[in-house]
Symmetry: C2
Subunit: 503 residues, 2 copies
C-alpha cells in the first residue's frame, strides 16, 4: 500500500485555517449583503463548450477536463484513438525522416506507416477526416473523451448563468459568489491548483454609482479586516485616449504593455521599450508626462485634463474618475488613489478599473476588477454591461497572518472540558453540558475515564480554556471544581454558579 | 453559438436557495461546534489511488476522473491506446467468430488481427502485458490518462487525512466536514451528480459516549430545524448475533438482505425470501420473533435479551443499545427508536448504526451513520476506531420546503431601497445609507434616475420591504418619505428618525 498523499497544488484545511478563512469570507459576505448583493452558487463542473475559448490559448490549456463516464468503448472514442494513432505515426515518420527524434525513445523501431501502411489507410478512411495539425488532433481527442471541465473562474459561469436566466432576473442584477476554482497551473509558493475566488458583480446597469459602491465595498471590507490598503483606480478610456494622442489607438497594446512594467523596471526602461515598440520622441515625451502625473486628486485631474484635452474618450474617462473622487470616498484617510499607470493586463475591461494592494507588506495585488461592456454576448445574449470586483482570499490570508491581524476569538473551539471521573459523575456532567450547550457554550466530556494527566493534555492540545472537575465529593455538594488553564486560577463553585458564569 | 447549458445532474443555486441551504448548514454546524467538533476541508480532487477500490465495483465506476493536464502524447498514454486497440481487435474477432455483434455497427468490416496481424503483434510486444479482460484494460486506459478524481464522499478523504496526519492530531479527533461530492450516477429526481455531504466523525475512541452525543446531535439539529423525526438505532452486533443463532454467521448477509426489505415487501415475503436463501423453518421462526419485537424501550430490550441470550456478541450489542437508551435521550418525546430491523446495507459498520427518517412526509432516510472499526487501515494506519453520522442536506431541504419549515427571515436581503431622484438627493441618500450600513442594515440606492414605477418594480421584484423617497422638498426639510410595501403604510419622518428606526 502506497502512502496516501494529496494531488499537487491542493491543500487540506484544518480547523484553525478553516476558521480564519471563514472569518475573511464572512467579513466580505456581510459587506456584500449590506450593499444589496445576493449570493449565487454555480456547479464545480461546466460543459467544456462553456469554458473553452474564453481564457485565451494559454488559459484553455489550464482547464481541468473531466473524463466522460460511461462506456468509453464507443465509436467516438475509438475515432479519437485512431486519429491519435495516425498522428503518432505521422510524427514517427517525420521524426525518422528528419533524423530528429520527437521522443527520446520511440515506441516502434520503424514508423507504423512503414511496417503497416494498410492499417493507417484503414484508420484514415474510417476517420473520414482531413489531415490536420497537432493541436487540432489534441483538441479532438480531449474533446471526445471529455465534455465537462472544472470551472476556471467565477466570471464565465456567472455570464453563463445570466445568459440562461436573464428573463427571470431582476435587473440590475447584483450577485456575489464565493467558491473554489481550478487551474492546471504549475504549483508554486502562493499558487494553487484549487483556490477560492470571491467576486461581486452588477450587470444590467451603466451607472457609475456601481463603481462608487464597489470601491466603497473594498474600503469597508479592508477596514473591517484591519488591513491598510491602497485602492488604485484608473479608466481604460484614459489609456485609450493616451494611445489616441500618441500614435493612434492601434498603439494601445504597445503602450499598455510598456506602462504595466513601470513599477518593476522604472521609467527609463519603459521609455526604451516604447522606442523599441516604434513610438517616436514626441509621443514618448507625452507618455512620460502622463507617467509623471502626481499630487493630490485635484492636481492629478488637472494634469490629465490638460494632457488629454483633445480626446473625447479621454474626457469620458476623466469624468468617470471625477465622479468616484467626488463621492464620499475621498474623505481624509481614504484608501483611494488615482493611478494612471494602472492597466489590468489585456482583458475585457472597458471603463473604470480597480486594483488593491496591501501596505506594509510585500505582496502582489489582493483584489482587482473593472467595468466590461458585454460579457454575456459570449453566450448569445448581447448588451448587458457590467462591473465587478474580486478579492484574492489566499493572499489576504497570507497578509493577515504575516501582520498578525486575525482577532484572537477567531479560534472559537470548545470552551469547557468536563473531566470523566466515572458513571454517575459523567451523567451529571452530561446534564450540565446540555444546559450550557442550550446557551450556546461549546463543551466536551472526556470520552473515557482516564488519568487526570491524559485528560489535562487533551484540554491543552485542543486549547480548551477551562476544565471542570466533578468527583464524588463535588457531586454530593452540587458543586464543581473549575480551572482556567491560562491563569491556572482554580476554584470550587456551585453548579448554578457554573451555569450562570457562561452565557 | 449553441445555447449555454449546465452539465447533466448539476444545479445553479440562486439567492433564495443559497440562503435556505445556508440556514440548514449553519444550524448543523452550530450544533457540531457545541459538541466540540472542529471543521475540516479537503480538496475537491484526490489522487485516483486514494479513491479506487474503496466503494465497491459499482462505486468505482461512478467516480469522476480528471484528465491529466500537460502533454498527452506521452509514451504511457500511447501504451494505453495500443492496449485499447488490441482489446478492440480482440472483441471484433470474437464478435465475428460468435456471429454475435458486440457493437451494432462495427468500425471495421474485418477484425484488425485479420487484416493486419503484424501490427497487433508489434503492439502486443511493445506492451509486454499479458492478455486481460475488458475491465482490466478499461482500468488501465482510464488510469493512464487520469491520475486524479473528484471526491465521491467525505469519509475516504477524511480517512486519508487522518492517515496522513495522525501523529499531529489530538485524539480522539472530532471533525465535521460540509462539502460537495461528485458521483457519475444517472441523474433523476432528487439525485444529483454534484451534491453536499455533511458529516461528523470521532476517531480514536471506543467510548459509547460518542454514540450518545451523536444521537443527541441528531435530535438537537432536527429540533432546531423544526422537523419531526425518528432516529432509529440498532447494533450490527445484534444482527450478527441473530445470524449466529440462526444458521451461523455465514448467513448474516442473507438474513440482513432479507430483513432490509421488510418495510417494502412485508413479513410474509421476507419469510419467503429466507426460505429461498436456505433457512429452515425453525430458524425462520426465530427471525420472525425478532422482527415482531415491539413495545416500549424496556419491552424491546427484554424480548431481545431473551431471544439472543446464548450469544456473547448479542450481549455486547444489547449493552450498546442500553447505554444509549439509559442516557437522557429517552426522555418524554424523544425521537429515539430502537429498530432491530435496521441494517444500513452492506457497509463497513461494526457497532451501533443510526438512521433518521422524517415524519409526516414521504422521503427516504435523511441521515445515517454508525461505528466502524478500522477505516484508516485502508491507508496503512490500523487500529483507529471511529463513529460518525451524516446529514442528507438535499432531502432535508426538500422536506422543509414541503412542510414550509423555513423561517420567514431566512430571506434576509436588502431592507431599504432609496429611490434615485437626481444628484443632490442621491448624495444625501448615499450618506444615510452609509450610516445604516454601519449599523448592519442592508440598503440600496436605485442605480439611475428613473420613473417611480420602474424603481418601485425593482423593490417589488427583489422583495425589498421598505422604500425611501428623498426629493427636493424632503431634502430641504431634512426628512424622507418612507413606505412599507406590504402594509402600504407611508409616512414622512426626519433623517434622524429613519436612522433610529432601523438597527
Amino acid at each position: 500500500m502506497s502512502k496516501p498523499s494529496l494531488p499537487q497544488g491542493t491543500r487540506d484545511f484544518g480547523a484553525d485555517t478553516v476558521r480564519k478563512r471563514n472569518y475573511i469570507f464572512n467579513t466580505i459576505k456581510t459587506v456584500f449583503e449590506l450593499y444589496g448583493f445576493e449570493p449565487l452558487e454555480t456547479p464545480a463542473m461546466e460543459n467544456l463548450d462553456t469554458l473553452m475559448g474564453k481564457y485565451g490559448e494559454e488559459g484553455d490549456k489550464l482547464i481541468f477536463r473531466i473524463l466522460d463516464s460511461g462506456n468509453p468503448f464507443s465509436k467516438d472514442f475509438f475515432v479519437s484513438l485512431s486519429e491519435y494513432l495516425k498522428y503518432y505515426s505521422e510524427i514517427s515518420k517525420r521524426s525518422l525522416e528528419a533524423n530528429d527524434s520527437y521522443d527520446k525513445k520511440p515506441l516502434f523501431e520503424k514508423p507504423l506507416w512503414e511496417t503497416n501502411p494498410e492499417i493507417i489507410e484503414a484508420i484514415a478512411k474510417d476517420m473520414q477526416l482531413p489531415t490536420g495539425d497537432r493541436s487540432k488532433y489534441l483538441a479532438k481527442i480531449k474533446h471526445d473523451v471529455s465534455s465537462k471541465a472544472l470551472k476556471y473562474d467565477l466570471t464565465i459561469p456567472f455570464a453563463r448563468y445570466v445568459a440562461m436566466n436573464h428573463h427571470q432576473l431582476t435587473m440590475p442584477f447584483k450577485r456575489y459568489q464565493i467558491q473554489p476554482v481550478w487551474r492546471a497551473d504549475r504549483p508554486q509558493k502562493g499558487r494553487y491548483r484549487e483556490f477560492y475566488q470571491c467576486d461581486a458583480d452588477v450587470v444590467g446597469s451603466n451607472s457609475l454609482l456601481n463603481e462608487v459602491e464597489l470601491a466603497t465595498i473594498y474600503a469597508t471590507v479592508f477596514e473591517k479586516l484591519g488591513m491598510d490598503v491602497e485602492i488604485k483606480i484608473n479608466s481604460r478610456k484614459i489609456l485609450a485616449a493616451l494611445a489616441e494622442v500618441c500614435g493612434g489607438s492601434e498603439k494601445m497594446v504597445d503602450i499598455t504593455v510598456a506602462i504595466d512594467k513601470l513599477e518593476k523596471i522604472g521609467i527609463e526602461k519603459v521609455k526604451e521599450e516604447l522606442v523599441q515598440r516604434g513610438l517616436n520622441t514626441e509621443q514618448i515625451a507625452v507618455i512620460e508626462k502622463y507617467l509623471l502625473i502626481n499630487g493630490s486628486y485635484d492636481d492629478k485631474l488637472q494634469q490629465i485634463k490638460l494632457l488629454l484635452s483633445e480626446s473625447e474618450t479621454g474626457k469620458l474617462g476623466i469624468d468617470e474618475i471625477e465622479t468616484i473622487v467626488n463621492s464620499q470616498l475621498t474623505a481624509h484617510h481614504s484608501p483611494l488613489t488615482i493611478d494612471f499607470t494602472l492597466a489590468r493586463g489585456l482583458n475585457y475591461y472597458t471603463g473604470i478599473i480597480f486594483e488593491v494592494k496591501a501596505k506594509n507588506v510585500q505582496m502582489g495585488s489582493i483584489g482587482g476588477g473593472g467595468r466590461y461592456d458585454d460579457l454575456t454576448g459570449l453566450f448569445g445574449v448581447p448588451n448587458i454591461p457590467g462591473v465587478g470586483i474580486s478579492f484574492g482570499v489566499d493572499r489576504i490570508y497570507d497578509v493577515m497572518e504575516e501582520l498578525k491581524l486575525f482577532p484572537a476569538d477567531v479560534r472559537a473551539g470548545t470552551k469547557l472540558l468536563f473531566f470523566n471521573l466515572g458513571g454517575a459523575e459523567s451523567k451529571k456532567a452530561f446534564e450540565l453540558m446540555q444546559q450550557l450547550r442550550n446557551k450556546g457554550i461549546s463543551c466536551e466530556l472526556f470520552h473515557e475515564q482516564a488519568k487526570f494527566d491524559k485528560q489535562f493534555k487533551y484540554a491543552e492540545k485542543k486549547q480548551i480554556p477551562f476544565i471542570v472537575i466533578i468527583g464524588t465529593k463535588e457531586l454530593e455538594s452540587n458543586s464543581c471544581n473549575i480551572k482556567e488553564l491560562e491563569s491556572a486560577v482554580q476554584e470550587t463553585i456551585s453548579f448554578d454558579a457554573l451555569l450562570s458564569r457562561f452565557s
